[in-house]
Protein backbone atom coordinates (compact mmCIF):
# COMPACT_ATOMS: atom_id res chain seq x y z
CA UNK A 1 0.00 0.00 0.00
CA UNK A 2 1.59 3.18 -1.12
CA UNK A 3 1.30 6.31 0.94
CA UNK A 4 -0.18 8.87 -1.41
CA UNK A 5 -1.22 11.59 0.95
CA UNK A 6 0.81 14.01 2.99
CA UNK A 7 1.52 17.61 3.84
CA UNK A 8 3.70 19.77 1.66
CA UNK A 9 5.18 22.99 2.86
CA UNK A 10 4.85 26.05 0.65
CA UNK A 11 8.27 27.41 -0.30
CA UNK A 12 7.15 30.11 -2.70
CA UNK A 13 4.01 31.62 -4.10
CA UNK A 14 3.71 34.47 -6.59
CA UNK A 15 1.35 35.95 -9.11
CA UNK A 16 2.74 35.53 -12.63
CA UNK A 17 -0.10 36.79 -14.83
CA UNK A 18 -3.64 38.07 -14.54
CA UNK A 19 -5.32 35.78 -12.00
CA UNK A 20 -2.50 33.24 -12.45
CA UNK A 21 -0.32 32.10 -9.56
CA UNK A 22 2.77 29.94 -9.33
CA UNK A 23 3.14 27.96 -6.15
CA UNK A 24 6.02 25.71 -5.16
CA UNK A 25 5.90 23.34 -2.26
CA UNK A 26 8.13 20.75 -0.74
CA UNK A 27 7.97 17.35 0.91
CA UNK A 28 8.82 13.66 0.53
CA UNK A 29 5.57 12.94 -1.35
CA UNK A 30 7.05 14.78 -4.34
CA UNK A 31 9.57 12.04 -5.13
CA UNK A 32 6.82 9.92 -6.64
CA UNK A 33 5.77 12.65 -9.07
CA UNK A 34 7.67 11.55 -12.11
CA UNK A 35 4.99 11.40 -14.75
CA UNK A 36 3.96 14.65 -16.47
CA UNK A 37 0.21 15.03 -16.94
CA UNK A 38 -0.56 13.52 -13.58
CA UNK A 39 -2.24 15.73 -11.05
CA UNK A 40 -2.51 16.24 -7.32
CA UNK A 41 -5.65 16.71 -5.26
CA UNK A 42 -5.30 19.47 -2.70
CA UNK A 43 -7.12 20.20 0.54
CA UNK A 44 -6.46 23.88 0.82
CA UNK A 45 -7.22 24.39 4.49
CA UNK A 46 -9.03 22.67 7.32
CA UNK A 47 -12.11 24.88 7.26
CA UNK A 48 -15.11 22.82 6.36
CA UNK A 49 -17.04 25.43 4.43
CA UNK A 50 -14.66 24.52 1.60
CA UNK A 51 -15.25 20.82 1.66
CA UNK A 52 -13.60 19.11 -1.27
CA UNK A 53 -10.07 18.85 -2.51
CA UNK A 54 -9.11 20.72 -5.68
CA UNK A 55 -7.32 19.04 -8.59
CA UNK A 56 -4.23 20.81 -9.94
CA UNK A 57 -1.77 19.58 -12.54
CA UNK A 58 1.87 18.95 -11.87
CA UNK A 59 3.69 21.71 -13.72
CA UNK A 60 7.23 21.02 -12.63
CA UNK A 61 9.03 18.76 -10.20
CA UNK A 62 12.49 18.68 -8.75
CA UNK A 63 12.73 15.23 -7.23
CA UNK A 64 16.08 15.93 -5.64
CA UNK A 65 14.90 18.99 -3.81
CA UNK A 66 11.49 17.40 -3.43
CA UNK A 67 9.75 20.45 -4.80
CA UNK A 68 6.54 20.53 -6.79
CA UNK A 69 5.47 23.56 -8.81
CA UNK A 70 1.90 24.20 -9.83
CA UNK A 71 0.31 27.04 -11.75
CA UNK A 72 -3.28 27.89 -11.12
CA UNK A 73 -5.90 30.42 -12.03
CA UNK A 74 -8.03 32.00 -9.32
CA UNK A 75 -11.51 30.84 -10.30
CA UNK A 76 -13.60 30.51 -7.17
CA UNK A 77 -13.27 30.22 -3.44
CA UNK A 78 -10.79 27.37 -3.36
CA UNK A 79 -8.15 28.83 -5.63
CA UNK A 80 -8.70 32.22 -4.00
CA UNK A 81 -7.94 30.77 -0.60
CA UNK A 82 -4.95 28.93 -2.00
CA UNK A 83 -3.61 32.23 -3.32
CA UNK A 84 -3.82 33.70 0.18
CA UNK A 85 -1.70 30.98 1.75
CA UNK A 86 1.61 32.13 3.13
CA UNK A 87 5.03 30.68 2.52
CA UNK A 88 5.87 28.04 5.20
CA UNK A 89 2.25 27.08 5.68
CA UNK A 90 1.14 23.59 4.73
CA UNK A 91 -1.20 22.09 2.20
CA UNK A 92 -2.62 18.59 2.36
CA UNK A 93 -1.83 16.86 -0.92
CA UNK A 94 -3.10 13.60 -2.35
CA UNK A 95 -1.10 12.37 -5.30
CA UNK A 96 0.34 11.91 -7.79
CA UNK A 97 -2.95 10.77 -9.33
CA UNK A 98 -4.12 9.57 -12.72
CA UNK A 99 -2.44 8.57 -15.93
CA UNK A 100 -0.11 11.18 -17.36
CA UNK A 101 1.21 11.80 -20.85
CA UNK A 102 3.01 8.79 -22.37
CA UNK A 103 6.47 10.25 -22.87
CA UNK A 104 7.78 6.93 -24.22
CA UNK A 105 5.42 7.04 -27.20
CA UNK A 106 7.73 9.54 -28.84
CA UNK A 107 11.13 8.27 -29.85
CA UNK A 108 14.29 10.29 -29.49
CA UNK A 109 14.72 12.41 -32.61
CA UNK A 110 11.01 12.58 -33.33
CA UNK A 111 9.00 15.80 -33.13
CA UNK A 112 6.42 16.41 -30.44
CA UNK A 113 3.91 19.21 -30.73
CA UNK A 114 2.65 20.41 -27.36
CA UNK A 115 -0.55 22.41 -27.56
CA UNK A 116 -1.93 24.15 -24.49
CA UNK A 117 -4.85 26.44 -23.90
CA UNK A 118 -5.08 28.77 -20.91
CA UNK A 119 -4.84 26.95 -17.64
CA UNK A 120 -4.20 23.74 -19.63
CA UNK A 121 -0.68 24.95 -20.28
CA UNK A 122 0.96 24.02 -16.93
CA UNK A 123 1.26 20.21 -17.33
CA UNK A 124 2.95 20.67 -20.71
CA UNK A 125 5.95 22.27 -19.07
CA UNK A 126 7.04 19.17 -17.14
CA UNK A 127 6.17 17.10 -20.20
CA UNK A 128 8.33 19.24 -22.45
CA UNK A 129 11.28 19.00 -20.08
CA UNK A 130 11.06 15.22 -20.03
CA UNK A 131 10.62 14.91 -23.77
CA UNK A 132 13.57 17.16 -24.38
CA UNK A 133 15.73 15.22 -21.92
CA UNK A 134 14.84 12.15 -23.95
CA UNK A 135 16.10 13.75 -27.14
CA UNK A 136 12.72 14.59 -28.59
CA UNK A 137 12.33 17.82 -30.53
CA UNK A 138 9.61 19.86 -28.87
CA UNK A 139 7.47 22.60 -30.37
CA UNK A 140 4.94 24.52 -28.26
CA UNK A 141 1.76 26.28 -29.21
CA UNK A 142 0.21 28.09 -26.29
CA UNK A 143 -3.12 29.87 -26.50
CA UNK A 144 -4.35 32.60 -24.16
CA UNK A 145 -7.19 35.11 -24.01
CA UNK A 146 -5.04 38.19 -24.08
CA UNK A 147 -1.60 39.56 -23.35
CA UNK A 148 -2.33 39.86 -19.62
CA UNK A 149 -3.12 36.17 -19.35
CA UNK A 150 0.13 34.93 -20.91
CA UNK A 151 2.58 33.07 -18.66
CA UNK A 152 5.67 30.84 -18.92
CA UNK A 153 6.47 32.00 -22.46
CA UNK A 154 10.15 32.40 -21.61
CA UNK A 155 10.29 29.06 -19.84
CA UNK A 156 8.86 27.19 -22.82
CA UNK A 157 11.06 29.12 -25.23
CA UNK A 158 14.10 27.75 -23.46
CA UNK A 159 12.98 24.22 -24.27
CA UNK A 160 12.00 24.69 -27.91
CA UNK A 161 10.22 26.88 -30.45
CA UNK A 162 7.16 28.42 -28.85
CA UNK A 163 4.21 30.04 -30.62
CA UNK A 164 1.91 32.08 -28.43
CA UNK A 165 -1.58 33.00 -29.59
CA UNK A 166 -4.06 35.38 -28.05
CA UNK A 167 -7.72 35.58 -28.91
CA UNK A 168 -7.65 39.36 -29.07
CA UNK A 169 -4.29 39.54 -30.81
CA UNK A 170 -2.75 41.63 -28.04
CA UNK A 171 0.29 39.34 -27.97
CA UNK A 172 1.76 36.80 -30.39
CA UNK A 173 -0.40 35.38 -33.13
CA UNK A 174 -4.02 36.53 -33.17
CA UNK A 175 -6.49 33.69 -32.96
CA UNK A 176 -6.65 30.17 -31.62
CA UNK A 177 -3.93 27.56 -31.27
CA UNK A 178 -5.35 25.71 -34.24
CA UNK A 179 -4.92 28.83 -36.37
CA UNK A 180 -1.26 28.96 -35.40
CA UNK A 181 -0.68 25.27 -36.21
CA UNK A 182 -2.23 25.86 -39.60
CA UNK A 183 -0.51 29.16 -40.39
CA UNK A 184 2.88 27.98 -39.25
CA UNK A 185 2.44 24.67 -41.03
CA UNK A 186 3.55 22.78 -37.97
CA UNK A 187 4.06 19.04 -38.38
CA UNK A 188 4.81 16.45 -35.73
CA UNK A 189 5.11 12.79 -34.85
CA UNK A 190 3.16 13.06 -31.62
CA UNK A 191 0.66 15.64 -30.43
CA UNK A 192 0.20 16.26 -26.70
CA UNK A 193 -2.47 18.68 -25.58
CA UNK A 194 -4.29 20.07 -22.60
CA UNK A 195 -6.86 22.84 -22.55
CA UNK A 196 -10.53 23.73 -22.83
CA UNK A 197 -12.90 21.17 -24.29
CA UNK A 198 -13.61 23.24 -27.39
CA UNK A 199 -9.91 23.21 -28.23
CA UNK A 200 -9.60 19.49 -27.63
CA UNK A 201 -12.59 18.86 -29.87
CA UNK A 202 -11.09 20.93 -32.64
CA UNK A 203 -7.77 19.07 -32.35
CA UNK A 204 -9.60 15.74 -32.40
CA UNK A 205 -11.35 16.65 -35.62
CA UNK A 206 -8.10 17.57 -37.30
CA UNK A 207 -5.77 14.96 -35.94
CA UNK A 208 -7.95 11.96 -35.12
CA UNK A 209 -5.76 9.74 -37.24
CA UNK A 210 -2.52 10.93 -35.68
CA UNK A 211 -0.58 9.82 -32.64
CA UNK A 212 -2.16 12.26 -30.20
CA UNK A 213 -2.87 12.43 -26.47
CA UNK A 214 -5.31 14.79 -24.83
CA UNK A 215 -5.68 15.74 -21.19
CA UNK A 216 -9.28 16.26 -20.00
CA UNK A 217 -10.84 18.23 -17.19
CA UNK A 218 -13.88 17.25 -15.18
CA UNK A 219 -15.28 18.18 -11.78
CA UNK A 220 -13.91 15.74 -9.26
CA UNK A 221 -14.92 14.38 -5.90
CA UNK A 222 -12.52 11.73 -4.66
CA UNK A 223 -9.88 11.96 -7.38
CA UNK A 224 -9.13 8.27 -6.93
CA UNK A 225 -11.89 6.54 -8.87
CA UNK A 226 -14.47 5.85 -6.18
CA UNK A 227 -17.19 8.48 -6.52
CA UNK A 228 -17.88 8.31 -10.27
CA UNK A 229 -18.14 12.08 -10.56
CA UNK A 230 -15.70 12.38 -13.43
CA UNK A 231 -16.79 9.77 -15.95
CA UNK A 232 -16.97 10.08 -19.70
CA UNK A 233 -18.39 7.88 -22.43
CA UNK A 234 -16.23 5.85 -24.80
CA UNK A 235 -16.27 6.86 -28.44
CA UNK A 236 -17.14 3.31 -29.45
CA UNK A 237 -20.11 3.19 -27.06
CA UNK A 238 -21.26 6.80 -26.80
CA UNK A 239 -24.67 6.09 -25.27
CA UNK A 240 -23.89 2.91 -23.40
CA UNK A 241 -22.98 2.02 -19.86
CA UNK A 242 -19.24 1.64 -20.46
CA UNK A 243 -17.13 4.55 -19.33
CA UNK A 244 -13.74 5.87 -18.33
CA UNK A 245 -12.91 7.89 -15.24
CA UNK A 246 -10.96 11.06 -15.85
CA UNK A 247 -9.26 10.82 -12.45
CA UNK A 248 -7.84 7.32 -12.76
CA UNK A 249 -8.09 6.26 -16.40
CA UNK A 250 -7.13 9.80 -17.42
CA UNK A 251 -6.80 12.72 -17.30
CA UNK A 252 -4.75 11.88 -20.42
CA UNK A 253 -6.46 9.81 -23.11
CA UNK A 254 -5.54 8.77 -26.61
CA UNK A 255 -7.23 10.98 -29.16
CA UNK A 256 -10.64 9.58 -30.10
CA UNK A 257 -10.78 7.19 -27.16
CA UNK A 258 -13.43 9.03 -25.13
CA UNK A 259 -16.30 11.37 -25.91
CA UNK A 260 -15.33 14.96 -25.24
Amino acid sequence: MLKKQGHLSIVSQQQIAEQIYEITCQGPLVTAMTNPGQFVHIKIDQYEDLLLRRPLSICDVNTEEQTLTMLYRVEGNGTKRLSEKQVHSQIDVLGPLGQGFPVEETKPGEVALLVGGGIGVPPLYYLSKQLKARGVEVIHVLGFQSKEAVFYEKEFNELGPTYVTTVDGSHGIKGFVTDAIHEQNLTFDTLYSCGPNAMLKELTERFADKRAFLSLEERMGCGIGACLACVCHLTNDPEGASYKKVCTDGPVFKVGEVVL
Binding site: L52, G221, G225
Partner: protein, 309 residues
Protein backbone atom coordinates in the same frame (compact mmCIF):
# COMPACT_ATOMS: atom_id res chain seq x y z
CA UNK B 1 -15.34 -8.82 22.88
CA UNK B 2 -13.67 -5.54 22.08
CA UNK B 3 -15.16 -2.31 23.28
CA UNK B 4 -15.88 -1.32 19.69
CA UNK B 5 -17.41 -4.56 18.44
CA UNK B 6 -21.13 -4.58 17.82
CA UNK B 7 -23.60 -6.99 16.39
CA UNK B 8 -26.56 -5.85 14.35
CA UNK B 9 -28.89 -8.01 12.26
CA UNK B 10 -26.66 -9.61 9.66
CA UNK B 11 -23.71 -7.41 10.59
CA UNK B 12 -21.13 -8.72 12.98
CA UNK B 13 -18.84 -5.74 13.12
CA UNK B 14 -15.37 -5.29 14.64
CA UNK B 15 -16.22 -1.67 15.10
CA UNK B 16 -19.24 0.49 14.38
CA UNK B 17 -17.79 2.36 11.41
CA UNK B 18 -18.42 1.68 7.74
CA UNK B 19 -18.17 3.68 4.54
CA UNK B 20 -21.55 4.82 3.18
CA UNK B 21 -22.98 3.50 -0.03
CA UNK B 22 -21.92 5.32 -3.18
CA UNK B 23 -18.94 6.90 -1.48
CA UNK B 24 -16.68 3.88 -1.62
CA UNK B 25 -17.46 2.16 -4.91
CA UNK B 26 -16.91 -1.57 -4.38
CA UNK B 27 -13.85 -0.92 -2.24
CA UNK B 28 -11.12 -1.41 -4.84
CA UNK B 29 -9.89 2.17 -4.81
CA UNK B 30 -9.66 2.46 -1.04
CA UNK B 31 -7.88 -0.89 -0.85
CA UNK B 32 -4.92 1.03 -2.26
CA UNK B 33 -4.89 3.09 0.90
CA UNK B 34 -5.54 0.61 3.69
CA UNK B 35 -6.61 -2.92 4.52
CA UNK B 36 -10.39 -3.08 4.13
CA UNK B 37 -10.57 -5.70 6.87
CA UNK B 38 -10.07 -2.85 9.32
CA UNK B 39 -13.58 -1.62 8.60
CA UNK B 40 -16.65 -2.55 10.63
CA UNK B 41 -18.54 -3.24 7.41
CA UNK B 42 -18.71 -1.90 3.87
CA UNK B 43 -21.84 -0.45 2.29
CA UNK B 44 -21.16 -0.89 -1.41
CA UNK B 45 -22.48 1.19 -4.28
CA UNK B 46 -26.12 0.75 -5.29
CA UNK B 47 -26.72 -2.17 -7.67
CA UNK B 48 -29.46 -2.23 -10.29
CA UNK B 49 -30.48 -5.06 -12.60
CA UNK B 50 -28.90 -3.60 -15.72
CA UNK B 51 -25.62 -1.69 -15.90
CA UNK B 52 -26.24 2.06 -15.69
CA UNK B 53 -24.14 4.95 -16.87
CA UNK B 54 -26.00 7.39 -14.67
CA UNK B 55 -26.42 11.10 -15.27
CA UNK B 56 -24.44 13.34 -17.58
CA UNK B 57 -21.63 15.41 -16.08
CA UNK B 58 -21.11 17.72 -14.21
CA UNK B 59 -22.33 15.46 -11.47
CA UNK B 60 -20.88 17.27 -8.48
CA UNK B 61 -21.10 20.77 -7.09
CA UNK B 62 -19.72 22.03 -3.85
CA UNK B 63 -21.82 24.11 -1.44
CA UNK B 64 -20.94 25.65 1.91
CA UNK B 65 -19.93 22.70 4.08
CA UNK B 66 -21.78 20.47 1.66
CA UNK B 67 -21.63 18.52 -1.56
CA UNK B 68 -24.32 18.14 -4.19
CA UNK B 69 -24.18 14.98 -6.27
CA UNK B 70 -26.20 13.62 -9.11
CA UNK B 71 -24.30 10.47 -9.98
CA UNK B 72 -27.54 8.75 -10.89
CA UNK B 73 -26.96 5.21 -9.65
CA UNK B 74 -24.15 4.46 -12.08
CA UNK B 75 -23.16 0.83 -11.54
CA UNK B 76 -21.98 -2.19 -13.50
CA UNK B 77 -25.27 -4.07 -13.11
CA UNK B 78 -26.29 -7.18 -11.23
CA UNK B 79 -24.27 -9.70 -13.23
CA UNK B 80 -20.97 -7.95 -12.93
CA UNK B 81 -21.53 -7.04 -9.27
CA UNK B 82 -22.22 -10.69 -8.41
CA UNK B 83 -19.54 -12.17 -10.64
CA UNK B 84 -16.73 -9.71 -10.14
CA UNK B 85 -17.14 -6.95 -7.59
CA UNK B 86 -18.46 -8.93 -4.66
CA UNK B 87 -16.15 -11.95 -5.14
CA UNK B 88 -13.19 -9.55 -5.24
CA UNK B 89 -14.19 -8.32 -1.79
CA UNK B 90 -14.19 -11.84 -0.36
CA UNK B 91 -10.52 -11.66 0.43
CA UNK B 92 -11.28 -9.17 3.18
CA UNK B 93 -12.64 -10.13 6.56
CA UNK B 94 -15.54 -7.67 6.55
CA UNK B 95 -19.30 -7.99 6.19
CA UNK B 96 -20.85 -6.38 3.12
CA UNK B 97 -24.04 -4.36 3.22
CA UNK B 98 -25.25 -4.47 -0.38
CA UNK B 99 -27.19 -1.42 -1.52
CA UNK B 100 -30.16 -2.37 -3.70
CA UNK B 101 -31.84 0.03 -6.11
CA UNK B 102 -34.23 0.06 -9.03
CA UNK B 103 -37.08 1.80 -10.75
CA UNK B 104 -39.78 -0.82 -10.25
CA UNK B 105 -40.58 -3.14 -7.41
CA UNK B 106 -39.56 -6.10 -9.59
CA UNK B 107 -36.08 -4.65 -10.05
CA UNK B 108 -35.54 -4.45 -6.32
CA UNK B 109 -36.77 -7.98 -5.82
CA UNK B 110 -34.54 -9.37 -8.55
CA UNK B 111 -31.44 -7.59 -7.25
CA UNK B 112 -32.17 -8.47 -3.63
CA UNK B 113 -32.72 -12.11 -4.36
CA UNK B 114 -29.50 -12.59 -6.22
CA UNK B 115 -27.18 -10.23 -4.36
CA UNK B 116 -28.18 -11.65 -0.99
CA UNK B 117 -26.89 -15.04 -2.09
CA UNK B 118 -23.30 -13.82 -2.36
CA UNK B 119 -21.41 -15.32 0.48
CA UNK B 120 -19.94 -12.09 1.90
CA UNK B 121 -23.19 -10.14 1.62
CA UNK B 122 -24.58 -10.41 5.11
CA UNK B 123 -27.22 -7.71 4.85
CA UNK B 124 -28.99 -5.57 2.26
CA UNK B 125 -29.60 -1.86 2.26
CA UNK B 126 -32.75 -0.92 0.44
CA UNK B 127 -32.18 2.36 -1.32
CA UNK B 128 -35.71 3.74 -1.49
CA UNK B 129 -34.52 7.26 -1.32
CA UNK B 130 -32.06 8.04 -4.05
CA UNK B 131 -33.01 11.50 -5.25
CA UNK B 132 -31.15 11.07 -8.51
CA UNK B 133 -33.33 8.63 -10.38
CA UNK B 134 -36.37 9.97 -12.07
CA UNK B 135 -38.72 7.03 -12.24
CA UNK B 136 -40.35 5.36 -9.27
CA UNK B 137 -37.42 5.73 -6.87
CA UNK B 138 -38.56 8.90 -5.24
CA UNK B 139 -42.12 7.82 -4.53
CA UNK B 140 -40.87 4.71 -2.73
CA UNK B 141 -39.09 7.03 -0.36
CA UNK B 142 -41.85 9.45 0.54
CA UNK B 143 -45.05 7.42 0.87
CA UNK B 144 -45.16 5.10 3.90
CA UNK B 145 -47.50 2.53 2.34
CA UNK B 146 -45.40 2.20 -0.79
CA UNK B 147 -42.19 1.91 1.21
CA UNK B 148 -43.81 -0.74 3.39
CA UNK B 149 -44.94 -2.81 0.44
CA UNK B 150 -41.51 -2.69 -1.13
CA UNK B 151 -39.92 -3.65 2.17
CA UNK B 152 -42.23 -6.61 2.55
CA UNK B 153 -41.52 -7.92 -0.93
CA UNK B 154 -37.77 -7.45 -0.72
CA UNK B 155 -37.67 -9.00 2.72
CA UNK B 156 -39.38 -12.06 1.27
CA UNK B 157 -36.89 -12.27 -1.58
CA UNK B 158 -33.77 -11.71 0.48
CA UNK B 159 -31.86 -14.43 2.28
CA UNK B 160 -30.23 -11.90 4.61
CA UNK B 161 -31.55 -9.13 6.93
CA UNK B 162 -32.54 -5.86 5.29
CA UNK B 163 -31.94 -2.24 6.26
CA UNK B 164 -34.18 0.37 4.68
CA UNK B 165 -32.40 3.59 3.78
CA UNK B 166 -34.68 6.50 4.49
CA UNK B 167 -34.93 9.76 2.61
CA UNK B 168 -34.85 12.96 4.68
CA UNK B 169 -37.03 14.73 2.11
CA UNK B 170 -40.25 14.01 3.95
CA UNK B 171 -42.47 15.85 6.41
CA UNK B 172 -42.79 12.92 8.79
CA UNK B 173 -39.81 10.62 9.02
CA UNK B 174 -41.26 8.70 11.96
CA UNK B 175 -44.21 7.41 9.92
CA UNK B 176 -41.84 6.22 7.23
CA UNK B 177 -39.69 4.43 9.78
CA UNK B 178 -42.61 2.79 11.53
CA UNK B 179 -44.15 1.67 8.26
CA UNK B 180 -41.03 -0.15 7.11
CA UNK B 181 -40.43 -1.60 10.57
CA UNK B 182 -43.88 -3.10 10.56
CA UNK B 183 -43.26 -4.43 7.07
CA UNK B 184 -40.32 -6.42 8.37
CA UNK B 185 -37.24 -4.23 8.04
CA UNK B 186 -34.44 -5.48 10.27
CA UNK B 187 -32.84 -2.06 10.54
CA UNK B 188 -32.78 1.46 9.16
CA UNK B 189 -30.12 3.48 7.40
CA UNK B 190 -30.46 7.21 7.65
CA UNK B 191 -30.15 9.70 6.23
CA UNK B 192 -29.76 9.79 2.51
CA UNK B 193 -29.14 13.16 0.88
CA UNK B 194 -31.36 16.25 0.96
CA UNK B 195 -32.49 17.56 -2.41
CA UNK B 196 -30.60 20.69 -3.37
CA UNK B 197 -29.33 22.80 -6.24
CA UNK B 198 -26.65 25.31 -7.14
CA UNK B 199 -26.77 27.76 -9.99
CA UNK B 200 -23.67 28.96 -11.79
CA UNK B 201 -23.58 32.75 -12.07
CA UNK B 202 -21.61 32.68 -15.31
CA UNK B 203 -23.75 30.25 -17.29
CA UNK B 204 -26.88 31.16 -15.29
CA UNK B 205 -27.82 27.49 -15.28
CA UNK B 206 -27.76 24.82 -12.56
CA UNK B 207 -24.20 23.52 -12.19
CA UNK B 208 -25.33 19.90 -12.22
CA UNK B 209 -26.35 18.58 -15.62
CA UNK B 210 -29.21 16.91 -13.78
CA UNK B 211 -30.17 20.31 -12.31
CA UNK B 212 -30.97 19.10 -8.78
CA UNK B 213 -28.84 16.73 -6.75
CA UNK B 214 -28.43 15.23 -3.30
CA UNK B 215 -26.86 17.32 -0.57
CA UNK B 216 -24.44 15.56 1.77
CA UNK B 217 -21.66 16.58 4.12
CA UNK B 218 -21.44 18.58 7.37
CA UNK B 219 -24.23 20.94 6.26
CA UNK B 220 -26.85 18.20 6.71
CA UNK B 221 -25.63 16.76 9.99
CA UNK B 222 -28.17 18.60 12.19
CA UNK B 223 -31.01 17.23 10.05
CA UNK B 224 -29.64 13.70 10.39
CA UNK B 225 -29.21 14.00 14.14
CA UNK B 226 -32.75 15.32 14.55
CA UNK B 227 -34.26 12.50 12.48
CA UNK B 228 -32.29 9.77 14.22
CA UNK B 229 -33.22 11.24 17.59
CA UNK B 230 -36.89 11.09 16.64
CA UNK B 231 -36.90 7.73 14.92
CA UNK B 232 -34.76 5.82 17.40
CA UNK B 233 -37.34 6.58 20.10
CA UNK B 234 -40.17 5.35 17.92
CA UNK B 235 -38.84 2.05 16.57
CA UNK B 236 -37.20 -1.06 17.99
CA UNK B 237 -34.85 -1.83 15.13
CA UNK B 238 -31.29 -0.51 15.01
CA UNK B 239 -30.23 2.50 12.98
CA UNK B 240 -27.10 2.96 10.90
CA UNK B 241 -26.60 6.71 11.17
CA UNK B 242 -24.98 8.93 8.57
CA UNK B 243 -24.95 12.46 7.22
CA UNK B 244 -22.02 14.80 7.57
CA UNK B 245 -19.73 12.82 9.83
CA UNK B 246 -16.18 14.14 9.70
CA UNK B 247 -14.81 13.80 13.24
CA UNK B 248 -14.92 11.33 16.09
CA UNK B 249 -17.09 13.83 17.99
CA UNK B 250 -19.61 13.57 15.17
CA UNK B 251 -19.56 9.79 15.53
CA UNK B 252 -20.36 10.10 19.23
CA UNK B 253 -23.14 12.59 18.51
CA UNK B 254 -24.81 10.06 16.19
CA UNK B 255 -24.62 7.38 18.88
CA UNK B 256 -26.10 9.70 21.47
CA UNK B 257 -28.88 10.57 19.02
CA UNK B 258 -29.74 6.89 18.72
CA UNK B 259 -27.64 5.29 16.00
CA UNK B 260 -26.15 1.84 16.65
CA UNK B 261 -23.50 2.13 13.95
CA UNK B 262 -22.43 4.91 11.61
CA UNK B 263 -21.51 5.32 7.98
CA UNK B 264 -19.08 7.81 6.51
CA UNK B 265 -19.87 9.20 3.08
CA UNK B 266 -18.53 12.44 1.68
CA UNK B 267 -15.61 12.58 4.09
CA UNK B 268 -13.98 9.65 2.27
CA UNK B 269 -13.48 12.02 -0.67
CA UNK B 270 -11.89 14.64 1.52
CA UNK B 271 -9.66 12.17 3.33
CA UNK B 272 -9.23 8.68 1.91
CA UNK B 273 -8.14 7.52 5.37
CA UNK B 274 -11.30 8.90 7.01
CA UNK B 275 -12.70 5.54 8.16
CA UNK B 276 -9.53 4.01 9.62
CA UNK B 277 -8.69 7.31 11.29
CA UNK B 278 -12.06 7.44 13.02
CA UNK B 279 -11.75 3.80 14.06
CA UNK B 280 -8.37 4.58 15.58
CA UNK B 281 -9.60 7.65 17.43
CA UNK B 282 -12.74 6.09 18.85
CA UNK B 283 -11.25 4.19 21.83
CA UNK B 284 -9.43 7.30 23.03
CA UNK B 285 -12.65 9.26 22.88
CA UNK B 286 -14.45 6.55 24.85
CA UNK B 287 -11.74 6.81 27.49
CA UNK B 288 -12.19 10.56 27.66
CA UNK B 289 -15.90 10.08 28.13
CA UNK B 290 -15.47 7.27 30.65
CA UNK B 291 -17.38 4.84 28.50
CA UNK B 292 -16.48 1.17 28.38
CA UNK B 293 -18.29 0.04 25.30
CA UNK B 294 -19.50 2.11 22.41
CA UNK B 295 -22.99 0.61 22.63
CA UNK B 296 -23.50 2.29 26.01
CA UNK B 297 -23.82 5.56 24.16
CA UNK B 298 -26.66 4.50 21.87
CA UNK B 299 -29.65 6.79 22.45
CA UNK B 300 -27.83 8.47 25.32
CA UNK B 301 -29.47 11.79 24.56
CA UNK B 302 -32.90 10.48 25.37
CA UNK B 303 -32.30 7.44 27.59
CA UNK B 304 -32.36 8.60 31.18
CA UNK B 305 -29.86 6.18 32.67
CA UNK B 306 -27.21 6.83 30.12
CA UNK B 307 -26.73 10.43 31.11
CA UNK B 308 -23.94 9.98 33.55
CA UNK B 309 -21.39 12.72 33.57
Amino acid sequence: MSRLAIELPGLKMKNPIMPASGCFGFGKEYANFYDLSELGAIAVKATTVEPRYGNPTPRLAETKAGLLNAIGLQNPGLDKVCNEELPWLEKFDVPILANVAGSEMEDYIQVAERVSKNKNVTALELNISCPNVKKGGIAFGTVPEVAAELTREVKRASSVPIYVKLSPNVADIVSMAKAVEQAGADGLSMINTLLGMRIDLKTRKPILANQAGGLSGPAIKPVAIRMIHQVSQAVDIPIIGMGGITTVDDVIEFFLAGASAVAIGTQNFVDPYACPNLIEQLPKKLDEMGVDHVSELVGGSWKELCNVR
